[in-house]
Amino acid sequence: MRWYVAKRILQGLVTVWFIATATFFAMHSVPGDPLLNDRAMSPEIRANLEAKYGLDQPLARQYLVYMGNLLRGDLGISFVHENQSVNDIIRERFPVSAILGILAIIIAAVGGVLWGALTALYRNRLPDYIIMFLVILGISVPSFVVAALSQLTLVTLNQAVGVSLLPVAGWGTVWHMLVPALVLGLSTMAYLTRLMRSSMLEIAHSDYVRTAKSKGLPPARIFTRHQLRNAILPVITVLGPQVAIITTGGFVVEMVFAIPGLGRFFVEAVQQLDYTVIMGTTVFYGAFLVFMVIVVDLLYGFIDPRISLQ
C-alpha cells in the first residue's frame, strides 16, 4: 500500500516534470520575440528583462533557470499585468474556479447517480426515455452553447417576471454560482447518468442481487443497499479524469458568465499572449489534474476493498 502510494506520487512527479518541459519547449518555439511589445521598450528595461528571464543565455541554461524557479515555486511575472506575479494571480483567482468546480462536481455526481438510478428503476418506460434523451443532448451540446443559451433564458425570464430572479453574470453570492455550476456540471452529469444506468442494469443481473431476492429481502432494501452502493463504484473511478473536463470547461463558463476565476484569466492570457502566465497556469493546472487523478485512484482503494492497491 505504502509502496503503491509512493510509486504513484513518483509517477505523478515525473509526469509534471514532463508537462513543465513540454510547456517550456513549446513556448520557446513560438515565432517572434515576446519582449517586442507594442509599447516601445528602452534598451535598459529590455536588458533587465533579459537578465531576469535569462534570455541572453543558451537554451539549456534557460531551461535550468526555469526549472530552478519552478522547484522554488516561482512561476514568474506577468508580461501584460504590471507588478503581478503568476503566483499571486493563481492565489487570487484559483479559489473562485475551485469553488465553482467543486460545486459543479457535486451537482454532477449527485445528479448523475440519482438520474441513473431512476432510469434503471424505470427501465424502458417513459421516465427512462425522457432522461436518456436529455442525457444524449447533454453529451452532444457543447458547454459554451449551453452556457450562452442558459444566460439567454435567464435574461428573458428576468425580463418577463420583471424582477431579477437570478443574477445573469458576475460573482459574489451563492445565487451567482448556481447557474454556472449547473452548466459546468451538465456534460459530466449526463455522462455519469449513462454510466450509472448501465452499471445499475449490470448489477441487477448479478448473483448477489439474486441471492438477496431469494432470501426475501424487500425490493427497496435490495435497491438501496445492494444495487445502488455497488453501482456507484464505476462513477467514482471516472470522477478523476472528469475533474480535468470540469476544469477546462470552466474556461468557457467563466468567460460567458463573467466570473473572475483562473479559467477566464487563462483564456485572456492566451489571447494577449501573456507568455509567463500561460506557462505558469499550464504547469499549475497540469500538476493539479495529475494530483487529482492520483487522489481519486487512492480513494477508490478505500471505498472498494476488493481493489488491492498494487
Binding site: 509526469t15 514532463f18 508537462i19 513540454a22 510547456t23 513549446a26 513556448m27 518555439s29 513560438v30 515565432p31 517572434g32 444524449i136 443532448l137 453529451i139 452532444s140 451540446v141 457543447p142 458547454s143 459554451f144 452553447v145 450562452a148 443559451l149 444566460q151 439567454l152 435574461v155 448501465s198 442494469l201 449490470e202 480535468a244 477546462t248 474556461f251 468557457v252 468567460m255 460567458v256 483564456v267 492566451v270 489571447q271 499572449l273 500561460i278 499550464t282 493546472y285 497540469g286 489534474l289 495529475v290
Partner: protein, 456 residues
C-alpha cells in the same frame, strides 16, 4: 400435421440431410455487421444525417453560390425569413432643414428611411439647447431614452438628421431640453415612434445586380434585396454560405484529424504489440506520457506555439496539434487487441504454415482489429469537432475571416440578445453533428463488436 400423427407432438424427421443443411446463407463479418446496423433505427438515422451533412458541405456551395466573405451592408444582422423589400430612392443629399409644419412638436420630415431620418421639433419650454436620443425599445416609466445622438447648444437649431446605422425597424426618438450648462432637463422632453423604411439608391441596386440589365427603374419602385435564406451575421455576411464554409473547416478538422491519428495509432500499436518485450514497454510508456498531458491545455499551448501568421487560416496547426495529442488512445487499444490476437491458435497455425511477419500482420491481425478501430474512429470524430469548436470559441482556433462553427458561435454570442440566430444556427449544427456521430458510434459498436455490446 396433426392429422398425420395425432398421437405425437413432434413428427420424426425422415431424412437426416435436411436437418443439417444450413438454410440461411453464411454471412461474412461485415455483412453481419451491416445487417445489425440496418436493424438499429437510431444508428441508421444518424448515418443519414452524417451523409446529409457531408452533402451540405460538399454539394451545398455548388447550389448556393454566395461568397461567405461578401458583406451585404444593407442587410446586417438580418434574421432568417426577414422581409427584403426595398424602395428605390434618389442619391443622398444633405438635408437643408426644409419642410415640416411648425407647431406639432417632435416630428419626422418626409419619410423615415434607412438612408436618413429627418427630425424637426419646436423649442421646448425654457430650453437653451436640445439633445436628441434614440432608443430601440419603447421608452418606459424609467425614462431610459437610449443613446444620445447629438447636442445642439443653441436654442435656434431645431433639426437633426440621423444617419447612424439605421435598420428597417421601429425607433423611439426623444428630444430633451438642455439648460445653460448643457445638462439635460429630464422633466422637459418629447418622444415619437418612427418606423424606418428600407431603401436603396438606384446606383447601389444596379451595382449589386438587383436590377436586371437594361431595365429602367423609377424612384419609389420596390426591388428585392439579395436573398439570405438563413439571414446574415453582424457584418452582413450570408449565414448559409458561412455555415457551409464553416462546415468545411469543422468537418475537415473533425474527420481529417481522427483519420490521421487513428491510422498512426494503429501503426504504432500494432508494431508495439507485435514486437513485444522491451520495445513494446518503451513505446507504451511514451504513449502513457502523452495521455497524461492535460489535453485541452496542451491544445491551447500548441496553438500558441505554432502561431498563426497573417493571412493563414490556422487549420493546419490545429490538425497537427490534434494528431500529436490524440493518437495514444487508439495505439493502446490496438496494441491490446494485437497482443490478444497473437496468442490465438490460428496465428500459430499460420506461422507453422510458414507465413511471414508482414503477412501475419496484414492478413490476420489488422483485419481483426478493424471493427474496434472503426468504432474508435466514430467516437473520436465528435471529440475532435468539440475540441475545434471549443478552441475557436475561446479565440484560439481558426483565424478570422475563415469561418468555423466554433468561431461563428463565438461571434454570435456577442449579439445573442438582439439577434440570437447568429449563435443558434452554428450551435445547432455542432450539436447535430456530434449527436449523429455519437449515435452512429453506438450503433457501430453494437454491430461490430460483440464484446463491447451495450447491456441494454
Amino acid at each position: 400435421m396433426s392429422t398425420e400423427a395425432p398421437e405425437l407432438d413432434f413428427t420424426p424427421i425422415r431424412s437426416r440431410e435436411e436437418s443439417q443443411k444450413i438454410s440461411r446463407p453464411s454471412l461474412s463479418y461485415w455483412q453481419d455487421a451491416w445487417l445489425r446496423l440496418k436493424a438499429n433505427r437510431r444508428a441508421l438515422v444518424s448515418l443519414y444525417i452524417v451523409i446529409s451533412l457531408l452533402l451540405f458541405t460538399l454539394v451545398g456551395p455548388l447550389l448556393w453560390r454566395s461568397d461567405p466573405a461578401f458583406q451585404d451592408l444593407d442587410q446586417i444582422s438580418l434574421s432568417p425569413g426577414s422581409d427584403r423589400q426595398a424602395v428605390i430612392v434618389a442619391d443622398y443629399v444633405p438635408w437643408d432643414g426644409a419642410g415640416g409644419e411648425q407647431g406639432s412638436g417632435l416630428r419626422v420630415v418626409d419619410v423615415a428611411t434607412t438612408q436618413a431620418v429627418k427630425l424637426k421639433w419646436d423649442p421646448l419650454p425654457g430650453a437653451l439647447g436640445h439633445r436628441i436620443y434614440r432608443n430601440r425599445v419603447p421608452i418606459g416609466p424609467e425614462l431610459a431614452l437610449g443613446i444620445p445622438l447629438a447636442d445642439y447648444v443653441d436654442a435656434g437649431t431645431l433639426t437633426h438628421e440621423d444617419r447612424l446605422d439605421l435598420h428597417p425597424r421601429d425607433y423611439y426618438y426623444s428630444v430633451v431640453a438642455l439648460d445653460e450648462r448643457g445638462t439635460p432637463q429630464r422633466g422637459s422632453f418629447q418622444s415619437i415612434t418612427v418606423r424606418v423604411q428600407r431603401v436603396i439608391t438606384a446606383q447601389d441596386a444596379q451595382a449589386q445586380g438587383l436590377i436586371p440589365a437594361g431595365e429602367e427603374v423609377q424612384l419609389d419602385d420596390t426591388v428585392r434585396l439579395a436573398a439570405h435564406p438563413l439571414g446574415t451575421d453582424y457584418l452582413g455576411r450570408d449565414m448559409l454560405a458561412r455555415l457551409m464554409a464553416g462546415a468545411r473547416v469543422s468537418l475537415f478538422i473533425g474527420i481529417g484529424a481522427p483519420t490521421i491519428f487513428v491510422l498512426f495509432g494503429v501503426a504504432f500499436g500494432s508494431i508495439a504489440g507485435f514486437i513485444g518485450g522491451r520495445v513494446d514497454q518503451l513505446m507504451m510508456r511514451f504513449a502513457d506520457f502523452v495521455v497524461a498531458l492535460p489535453f485541452l491545455l496542451f491544445m491551447i499551448l500548441f496553438k500558441v506555439a505554432f502561431g498563426i501568421g497573417p493571412g493563414e487560416s490556422g487549420v493546419l496547426p490545429m490538425l497537427i496539434a490534434l494528431v500529436v495529442l490524440m493518437w495514444p488512445a487508439t495505439a493502446r487499444l490496438v496494441r491490446g487487441q494485437i497482443v490478444q490476437i497473437r496468442q490465438q491458435g490460428y496465428i500459430e497455425a499460420s506461422q507453422l504454415l510458414g507465413a511471414s511477419r508482414p503477412y501475419l500482420i496484414m492478413r490476420h491481425m489488422l483485419p481483426n482489429t478493424l471493427g474496434v478501430v472503426l468504432v474508435t474512429l466514430t467516437f473520436e470524430i465528435p471529440r475532435a469537432i468539440f475540441t475545434e469548436a471549443f478552441l475557436s470559441f475561446i479565440g484560439m482556433g481558426v483565424a478570422p475571416p475563415t469561418p468555423s462553427w466554433g468561431s461563428m458561435s463565438n461571434e454570435g454570442i456577442k449579439n445573442m440578445l438582439t439577434t440570437p440566430h447568429e449563435l443558434i444556427l452554428p450551435a445547432i449544427l455542432i450539436s447535430i453533428t456530434v449527436l449523429a456521430f455519437n449515435l452512429l458510434g453506438d450503433g457501430l459498436r453494437d454491430a461490430l463488436d460483440a464484446r463491447l455490446r451495450n447491456t441494454e
